[in-house]
């Protein structure tokens, strides 16, 4: 995962609440291999793609090319756990979403992919959405270490879980941290098998009612 600290690019203001992950990437595109890039499918149904009309979405605004920041209303990324929603944001180029609240699974997926879910108050989100920097496509500065967002004369503080902040700043992957815990995992497992014998999956074909098992 690529470390993140300062972003200074134009932003995509999206004045919508409850932007669910079905909207971030409609299910019909999730069959694609990731290597092909998910960026073109980001918010696909909001972008008039393939309708013959030009997209009026700010995602396709040439003035905002290179935008790495998105600003939205409450409960961004609610719904389906699909990490593809984060892949679509990331492959498009977004490294930070600013909103008053986030779906829990989305926020966790974002961190795993080096995307910052920056939490601001509802009033600050409205100010940012209405700011000339956002409406005119001028650069907005997000500083993770300082937890600030600077949009022209507007300075807004954001919150982020300190654990996530450290992870983003360093670009750490969980798996490396976990591998160092191997001895603790093995100890826990040995003790747990005795404490909760009922929790283990019984093996043996007979518990499968002799039904054919495809494995």
């Amino acid at each position: 995962m690529e470390p993140l600290n300062i972003i200074e690019t134009p932003a995509i203001p999206l004045a919508l609440a409850n932007v669910d992950t079905d909207q971030l990437i409609p299910a019909r595109f999730m069959k694609r291999p990731r290597a092909a890039g998910y960026g073109p499918f980001l918010l696909y149904d909001l972008r008039n793609i393939g309708t013959g009309q030009a997209s009026d979405s700010l995602l396709d605004d040439p003035q905002r090319a290179g935008a790495a920041v998105m600003i939205a209303r409450r409960n961004f990324g609610c719904g389906s756990s699909r990490e593809a929603a984060v892949y679509a944001l990331l492959d498009y180029g977004i490294r930070c979403v600013i909103a008053p609240s986030f779906g829990d699974i989305f926020a966790s997926n974002a961190i795993k992919n080096g995307v910052l879910p920056a939490r601001v108050s509802e009033a600050d989100a409205e100010e940012l959405l209405a700011s000339p920097s956002a409406t005119e496509g001028r650069a907005i500065r997000v500083d993770l270490a300082a937890q600030t967002i600077i949009a022209g004369n507007l300075v807004v503080l954001f919150t982020i879980d300190p654990v996530w902040k450290t992870q983003l700043l360093n670009g750490w992957d969980d798996i490396d941290l976990t591998m160092a815990e191997r001895p603790a995992i093995d100890r826990f497992r040995a003790q747990d098998l005795r404490a909760r014998p009922w929790a283990a999956v019984p093996d043996g074909e007979n518990t499968f009612n002799n039904d054919p098992v495809e494995n």
Binding site: A27, K31, D45, R73, E83, D174, V201, D203, E214
Partner: protein, 467 residues
């Protein structure tokens, strides 16, 4: 010290807790569906093995066709998704409930049926509706692909302990009021982000009276209130439902397990971080009118007027929802005409759900087309033994095979653009059931009533004298 069920489950699975508050949790069961291919790709990149294949189960559900299955899958991209799951599970020695298996079904229906879901377990799946399994008193939650890869490699997950929230519903639910109505009422009141960052325990006499099927519906929808997970403490209803299931402990081992499970409930003086309570008698048949599950109201209500909503951003959300749904403020919900119905999904595809819909439809005709997809092949067989399939077919509805079907818009079952669907599913998001599709969420009885009348209807009107 007094503990909630959430604390007890957490403590039993915490391998280690770092100074920063993150705990490494042991995962008892890991469930996979076709969407797991991203995680397997991550595994391959590291040339890693699956740590505990015996605790991992694959289930084909999201992409499986529900009609014409015997002919194979016509769409090659969809066929590839089902094949990929088979290849990946085979390669890593993971048991699969595949397309041709007699247990095939939606992961959140078939896994409990097999007795793989037990009280006191941690259960994860790359699917947000994994909260369903909380109905048994399991700590069950949805995760993303990177976390799926992590569990595959280590059988553990780093988690921050969620806030503990208790939602209490006291009293008796009225006749014809179901767990779906309870859940939609909760979401309408607390909001689609009302339980964000929280693990929910559902408590109170109304919850105790719910069947396991009802509890699964309720816990399933925890995520639509923003909750990390939702659960119900196990009791006699839970134990009776589990006894004799294939993978549940058997005989003496079952009795010993029950003894351990009885100790899981929250201590009487345990403290929660948040509390909410509702009176059961105030819960009415509830339907959604907008594009978020929080856009829900009792069937005798009307669509709100954004002009009366003071908060500008909330008013804008309602305006946006009404534009997408092609509805006008002030319209009575019972006046909304529909084009089709869908009965099924991990929310409402169980045998009780089909019985409730059949009770309304028996001897009647649907005036709009509709699809009934049982939640599992086992539910399908049971419904056919009870003659429910005949009732659906005689009413003019299509009786299909089991899968995620018209809930997810990725397997060929979709609602056409502009069509309005009365649906027993979990999400009325824009485009969820297909691009441009308009979804109204409701219980199976309410969907059946909508099929009979061609418009949103209080199912109790059609059940009078029948139950």
């Amino acid at each position: 010290m007094s503990r909630t069920i959430i604390d007890k489950l957490w403590d039993a699975h915490a391998i280690t807790t770092r100074e920063d508050g993150m705990s490494l949790l042991w995962i008892d069961r890991h469930l996979l569906h076709e969407g797991s291919f991203h995680a397997f790709d991550q595994l391959d990149k590291r040339a890693a093995a699956v740590a505990h294949p015996e605790a991992t189960f694959g289930v084909a559900d999201h992409y499986v066709p529900t009609r014409g299955r015997a002919k194979g899958i016509a769409n090659s991209e969809i066929a590839r998704m089902v094949d990929l799951l088979k290849e990946n599970t085979q390669r890593h020695h993971i048991r699969l409930i595949g397309l041709d298996d007699s247990r095939q079904g939606i992961v959140h229906v078939t896994i409990p049926e097999q007795g793989l879901t037990l009280p006191g377990l941690t259960i994860v799946c790359g699917d947000s509706h994994t909260s369903t399994h909380g109905a048994f008193g399991a700590y069950a939650f949805g995760i993303g692909a990177s976390e799926v890869a992590h569990v595959l490699m280590t059988q553990t997950l780093w988690q921050k302990k969620p806030k503990r929230m208790r939602i209490t519903i006291e009293g008796a639910l009225g006749s014809g009021i179901t767990a779906k109505d309870v859940a939609l009422t909760i979401i309408a009141r607390i909001g689609a982000d009302g339980a964000q960052g929280c693990a929910i325990e559902y408590a109170g006499s109304a919850i105790r009276c719910l069947s396991m099927e009802g509890r699964m519906t309720l816990c399933n929808l925890s995520i639509e209130a923003g909750g990390r997970l939702g659960l119900v403490a196990p009791d006699e209803t839970t134990f009776a439902w589990l006894q004799g299931r294939s993978f549940a402990p058997q005989a003496k081992a079952f009795d010993e397990a029950v003894e351990a499970w009885r100790a899981l409930g929250s201590d009487s003086d345990a403290k929660f971080d948040r509390e909410a309570s509702f009176a059961a008698r105030e819960i009415a048949p509830t339907v959604t009118w907008g594009v978020s599950p929080e856009h829900a109201a009792p069937i005798d209500g009307a669509i709100p007027d954004p002009a009366n909503i003071r908060d500008a951003s909330r008013a804008a959300a309602v305006r946006d929802a009404l534009a997408y749904m092609d509805l006008k403020a002030g319209t009575s919900l019972a006046a909304i005409r529909i084009d089709r119905v869908f009965i099924g999904s991990c929310t409402n595809g169980r045998i009780e759900d089909l019985r409730a819909a059949a009770a309304v439809l028996a001897g009647r005709q649907a005036v709009v087309p509709g699809l009934v997809s049982p939640g599992s092949s086992r539910v399908k067989r049971q419904a056919e033994e009870e003659g429910l399939d005949r009732i659906f077919r005689d009413a003019g509805l299509e009786w299909a095979d089991s899968g995620c079907s018209m809930c997810v818009g990725m397997n060929g079952d979709v609602v056409a653009a502009g069509e309005r669907c009365a649906s027993t599913t979990n999400r009325n998001f824009k485009g969820r059931q297909g691009p441009g599709a308009r979804t109204h969420l409701m219980s199976p009885a309410m969907a059946a009533a909508a099929a009979v009348r061609g418009q949103l209807t209080d199912a109790r009107e059609l059940l009078a004298g029948r139950t």
